[in-house]
């Protein structure tokens, strides 16, 4: 596999060392297999499903499409970084749970990140705007109905 390299990534506000890694590893692989952060998922590994959605310098990206070594110097935020402390949930996470937006859960972390990003930039989206914003996140279990309900519940509670 050629030369192995060492580098450092900044993930969820913490500097993390990556040692003796193959240059071709994706950010998703490094997060999941080297840094112990399996929350970002691997449904397609080719940028089609959104299950590995993370924030890179505040921009929503598919971690599977980013070469990990190219993320040096960037601020990476994963679903784990959007999760408050032990036994706590963000309002988005709580809403997904209580509104029934979770079935198998494989798409869920990516959707949590996408919805977080949406509401940061557009606190009060229309339903069509929500649908468009999450249309890059495939879900096979729910038909999206309860996910949309979850997003709406967050919008309503934040406006109170």
């Amino acid at each position: 596999m050629g030369e192995l390299i060492d580098y450092r990534l900044r993930v969820n506000g913490v500097e993390r060392d990556v040692a003796e890694a193959w240059l071709g590893e994706s950010l998703l692989y490094v997060l999941r297999e080297r840094l112990g952060l399996p929350g970002s998922k691997n449904a397609c590994l080719q940028g089609e499903c959104g299950s590995c959605s993370v924030l890179m310098d505040g921009k929503l990206v598919c971690a599977c499409m980013v070469l990990a070594a190219s993320a040096v110097g960037s601020e990476i935020v994963t679903v784990e970084g959007l999760t408050p402390g032990e036994n706590e949930l963000s309002d988005i996470q709580d809403s997904f749970l209580t509104e029934g937006g979770v079935q198998c859960g494989f798409c869920t972390p990516g959707l949590i990140v996408s919805v977080h990003d949406l509401l940061e930039h557009n606190p009060d989206p229309t339903e069509l705007e929500v649908r468009e914003a999450i249309s890059g996140n495939l879900c096979r279990c729910t038909g999206y109905g309860r996910i949309l309900a979850a997003v709406q519940a967050v919008q309503e509670s934040r406006q109170r």
Partner: protein, 773 residues
């Protein structure tokens, strides 16, 4: 890696949140692809690039020379049975001598790094002699066998009444449904850990732990107790995980290297590495009297089973038995056959044979209504099955059959008021970038009703075992039922609370150790079967508790009951919290639950082969751009026969999710084959509905008529949403366009180029009535 799930509130009938929901939303739930073990290796599988070929040689030497490669295995390394299969083991773990479909496994590699494993797999030299693939299922009926067991998996005939009967009105049609993929988001993956006793611990996402165990044990030539299968987190299933995939290869690699071995498919490999929904070719003729009462249904059905048998037998039986749909008809001449081809293997997918024939019989009902000049809803109501009616198998419907109720409530729901003239561009057919011309949009409404059997049938010994242990006020439930996302874990805890009156319930990890099979998480069966087993185990524990209390108080156990977390007696002598009453004692009971016996069909397809049936109706509203052939599904309305609602929010989730897959089957989803080659194994080319494609679902009614014999009165609800929803969508497109559209999925060219020959290009088998006598 397999964790217990604990929760503290929620009874039956409440919208209780899932006990695995917190780790799932935090990203901490351990799916089968998230597993890690110290020193683990990565596996990769070599697959055939040909749909049909003779294997001349396999040279693994170059792969073994790559630094970091620890093992390479082929069929020669399978110590036990070299093949597997749900009904009959006709599918090689690794192909030898012959490959019969593109993607068939040839060899597997274990290496230190996944990229090394990929490169080693690419370095394995397989010399093939490609042969002409047999890809046409009707030709396969007559062609020379492509497997020693022949090309026919199963022929199912159903004959009832007078085969010569005829009606005043006769309509005929030929229909097809394509090869749908489950497209479960979690890829096939798992971790095998070699054990000190020479056995294996396998952590895997499956639908049926104990049948995996049996098959793996046969292939590894290890006794059952040395093959321990543990459920890892399952990222959806929908039928795709009922057959083995990664189980035997990684177990063998782990045993051979003495190290844990992990594998994770990518999406292309997932498309190639699991079974699909059988494509169906269906000829139908319906006879009715002048009032619209069905007189006879004739059908000839060919199902393409692909290269290996999987569950083709039962899919064929379903297709035949449900050929007329949820309608009463005295005379039937049905012939269904599933055949072997060099296409990818087909097996279980949500709806399982019933989904295919529904597309044909519901189109026929609309044709019949048009021929009779009767409203299509009225025609369906006139023929709707009800309790006490006889099916074409001769089975009398002894359970609930609220077909008329689902039709009436669904049809009565108001239609959407929005208007394509003012809707946002993104909401028009084609959406952003390909926006339709508003003036050319036509709206259509379609309706369809379906029938689905619940649980395993045809004499199969279908059971589930559960254990309940009550200790210090905490109930621990053990059951091998697989959670795939449907919510059994929630329900098991609701049932336990309901029966025992305790709050604190732990669901132990699902595993093959120390508990018998729970059966498959399929056939809409776990609510009834494993729900029934959990209920029975809890009731047995409650009885023990009652006996203990009765002895203390010197009263009869019969007078005790659990009310709001307290044990009380009818006479008022006892009124004590369950927590207190059970303190200091441990009660544990294990119960094996069986549903009533079913029977195999005879040579004419007659017999009581099913336990219970569920029904649903769907109404679809679509907007169609007739020039571009673009379809937008505007809304789906549904009513479903559910027996009893046990968790309303989870139930809604099952309906919405199943309907989404129906929308996909109607207008988006198909594995496209070119001489046995899968041309679209990715989510770019095999498109499933996104949040923009999926319309709102309105649930007009849950029809709650408790099913006699069902432990809680409930009927399984997972499959009916995907039996008739696609039919309603295509019916709506027919209504909008006036086109016949005899094939699902409907493609843009089927609409836009309907007047030309531009939409053909596939084999068509309108002559199957002659091929099948």
């Amino acid at each position: 890696m397999s964790t217990s799930l604990r929760s503290r509130q929620g009874r039956l009938g409440e919208s209780v949140a899932r006990p695995d929901g917190i780790p799932k939303v935090r990203g901490q739930f351990a799916f089968s692809s998230d597993l890690f073990a110290e020193g683990m290796l990565w596996a990769h599988i070599v697959r055939s690039p040909h749909p049909s070929a003779i294997i001349r040689s396999i040279d693994v030497s170059a792969a073994l020379r790559i630094p970091g490669v620890r093992a390479v295995i082929t069929s020669d390394d399978v110590p036990g049975r070299k093949s597997f299969g749900l009904d009959y083991p006709d599918q090689p773990v690794f192909a030898w001598e012959v490959v019969r479909y593109l993607g068939e496994a040839i060899a597997a590699v274990a290496a230190d790094h996944p990229e090394t494993a990929r490169r080693a797999a690419a370095a394995i030299v397989v010399e093939y002699e490609p042969t002409e693939p047999l890809t046409d299922p009707v030709e396969a009926l007559e062609a020379g066998p492509i497997h020693p067991l022949g090309n026919v998996f199963h022929r199912q005939r159903v004959r009832r009444g007078d085969p010569e009967a005829t009606g005043a009105v006769v309509v005929e049609g030929y229909y097809e449904t394509g090869m749908q993929d489950q497209a479960q988001l979690g890829p096939e993956s798992g971790l095998a850990i070699p054990a000190e006793d020479g056995g294996i611990d396998l952590y895997v996402a499956t639908q049926w732990l104990h049948v995996d165990q049996e098959q793996i044990s046969a292939c590894l030539a290890l006794p059952l107790d040395k093959v321990r299968v543990h459920l890892a987190g399952v990222g959806g299933a929908f039928g795709a995980r009922e057959d083995l995939s990664i189980q035997v290869p990684i177990s063998l690699l782990a045993l051979q290297t003495g190290r844990p071995v992990k594998i994770v498919y990518d999406r292309e490999e997932s498309f190639l590495g699991h079974v699909h929904r059988h494509p169906a070719y269906m000829w139908y003729r319906h006879h009715a009297d002048a009032e619209g009462n069905l007189v006879k249904v004739e059908a000839r059905i060919v199902l393409d089973g692909g290269a290996y048998q999987s569950s083709s037998f039962a899919v064929t039986v379903n297709a035949a038995c449900f050929a007329p749909g949820p309608y009463k008809v005295a005379n039937a001449v049905i012939e269904a056959v599933s055949v072997r081809t060099n296409n990818p293997p087909c097996g279980a997918m949500r709806g399982f044979g019933a989904t295919q024939t529904c597309f044909a019989y519901e189109a026929q009902m609309d044709k019949l209504a048009a021929a009779l000049g009767i409203d299509p809803i009225e025609l369906r109501l006139r023929n709707a099955l009800k309790h006490g009616d006889t099916l074409i198998t001769g089975q009398v419907l002894k359970g609930t059959a609220p077909v008329a109720e689902v039709i009436k409530t669904c049809a009565a729901a108001p239609l959407p008021e929005d208007d394509p003239g003012t809707m946002a561009e993104l909401a028009l057919p084609g959406g952003a970038g390909r926006t339709a011309d508003r003036a050319r949009i036509k709206r259509g409404v379609g309706f369809a009703v379906g029938i689905k059997n619940l649980m395993f049938s045809g004499g199969y010994d279908d059971f589930s075992e559960a254990r309940c242990r009550l200790e210090n006020g905490v109930a621990t439930v053990t059951c091998a039922a697989v959670e795939v996302g449907q919510g059994f874990v929630t329900l098991a805890q609701q049932i336990t609370r309901e029966v025992l009156g305790v709050d604190d319930v732990i669901l132990a990890p699902a595993t093959t150790i120390g508990i018998a099979s729970a059966g498959s998480t399929s056939a809409s069966r776990q609510t009834w079967m494993s729900g029934g087993a959990v209920q029975a185990a809890c009731l047995a524990v409650r009885d023990r508790l009652f006996e203990s209390i009765a002895a203390k108080y010197g009263i009869a156990a019969l007078v005790l009951e659990v009310v709001d977390g307290r044990v009380v007696s009818l006479g008022g002598e006892v009124d004590v919290a369950v927590l207190e009453a059970a303190s200091g004692e441990v009660f544990e009971e294990t119960v094996l639950y069986r549903h009533p016996q079913t029977f195999e069909l005879d040579e004419n397809g007659q017999g009581n082969n099913n336990v219970s049936y569920a029904f649903a109706a769907h109404r679809a509203v679509v907007d169609v751009d007739v020039d571009l052939g673009l379809v937008r599904v505007v809304e789906i309305t549904t009513s479903q026969d559910v027996g009893r609602v046990l968790n309303p929010r989870q139930l809604v989730g099952q309906l919405e999710g199943g309907i989404a897959q129906g929308v996909g089957l109607a207008v988006m989803e198909e594995i496209v084959l070119d001489h046995g080659r899968v041309r679209n194994p990715s989510f770019t080319d095999y498109v499933i509905p996104t949040a923009l494609d999926m319309p709102p679902v309105h649930i007009a009614a849950f029809i709650e008529q408790p099913e006699p014999g069902s432990p809680m009165g409930a009927k399984g609800a997972g499959e009916p949403p995907l039996v008739s929803s696609h039919c309603a969508v295509v019916a709506a497109i027919r209504a909008a366009t006036g086109l016949e559209l005899p094939r699902a999925p409907v493609r843009p060219q089927d609409i836009a180029l309907s007047g030309t020959n531009g939409s053909s290009g596939r084999p068509s088998h309108k002559d199957i009535a002659e091929v099948l006598p």
